[in-house]
């Protein structure tokens, strides 16, 4: 299974990206998106926020593959839209 890395973008520029160096194995990009949404939901619910984060809704997952290529961006705000579409 391919490994995807769920880097967190919280502001523009290099200092605004928290790098996921471990990643998770998932079957494909669609599964990576589901994983990102469920992690974002859990993070928002727990709200264990470092001072660098003002609002979780400003954050997004920049998902990269094993070659370091950006494959998908999942804004945390997509969790709200998903619920609306319900």
């Amino acid at each position: 299974m391919p490994r995807y890395f769920f880097n967190v973008r919280h502001r523009p520029g290099p200092a605004g990206l928290a790098e996921d160096r471990e990643g998770d194995e998932l079957v494909d990009v669609a599964a990576a998106r589901e994983h990102a949404l469920s992690e974002a939901e859990a993070v928002i619910a727990r709200d264990d926020r470092p001072a660098t984060i003002r609002d979780w809704m400003d954050c997004s997952f920049e998902i990269k593959d094993e070659d370091g290529q950006l494959v998908l961006t999942v804004p945390f705000s997509d969790t709200v839209q998903e619920q609306d579409e319900g």
Partner: protein, 202 residues
């Protein structure tokens, strides 16, 4: 993943004196696992339940940072404590410090943001390590701090941005202990001061 020392609700057969490396004590519910204590070369793994009259505990005890530990059977330890009032008192003082450490964990979990909790946790590890390098994943760190991996990753990045630590895959290196102490503020130090008073000063 991590070597078990004392498993939940199992009769305690052996206790452990870490010499190199250290152990974690965790509690677990349906929402996952959280660390409630850490024991290294300053202490005895299994001291609390056994000295307080129980032959088992619901808490899990396992090796967090690998090294060397001396093992003693529960029977031998109880025998030694029966024979020596001063040993008994010393070990009870250690259980008091462990109780304070767990109380401090409750305090920081309730009152402090993730970076402060991470700073305190790194300091506790550093106290029990030879050198400045800690081997761990963010997944494990999240479990220890009772948070999501994403929050752990963000907190690591925040401390790294200040150059307090250096993070690489599977490891964290402490670069500036003093800065971590300043950040942790009164989240760190109370049980450590009581250890110095009750045990090192004894």
């Amino acid at each position: 993943m991590r070597q078990p020392l004392i498993s939940p609700n199992q009769q305690i057969k052996q206790l452990f004196f870490p010499e190199v490396g250290f152990s974690s004590i965790t509690t677990q519910g349906s929402g996952g696992k959280v660390e409630i204590g850490m024991v290294g070369r300053e202490g005895l793994v299994g001291a609390i339940p056994l000295l307080l009259g129980s032959d088992r505990t619901p808490h899990d005890h396992f090796v967090q940072s690998p090294g060397e530990m001396l093992a003693i059977s529960a029977q031998a330890l109880c025998g030694a404590v029966d024979e020596s009032a001063s040993l008994h008192k010393l070990l009870l003082r250690f259980t008091q410090v462990q109780y304070l450490q767990t109380g401090q964990t409750a305090f920081v979990n309730a009152r402090y943001q993730i970076e402060v909790r991470l700073a305190r946790w790194l300091l506790m590890c550093h106290d029990r390590l030879d050198g400045d390098e800690l081997r761990l994943t963010h997944e494990f760190l999240a479990t220890m701090l009772g948070t999501q991996r994403t929050s752990a990753t963000l907190a690591v990045q925040a401390l790294e941005g200040h150059r307090f630590i250096k993070a690489q895959r599977g490891r964290i290196t402490i670069l500036n202990r003093k800065a971590l102490e300043d950040l942790a503020d009164d989240g760190y130090g109370l049980p450590e001061a009581e250890y110095a008073r009750l045990i090192e000063g004894a």
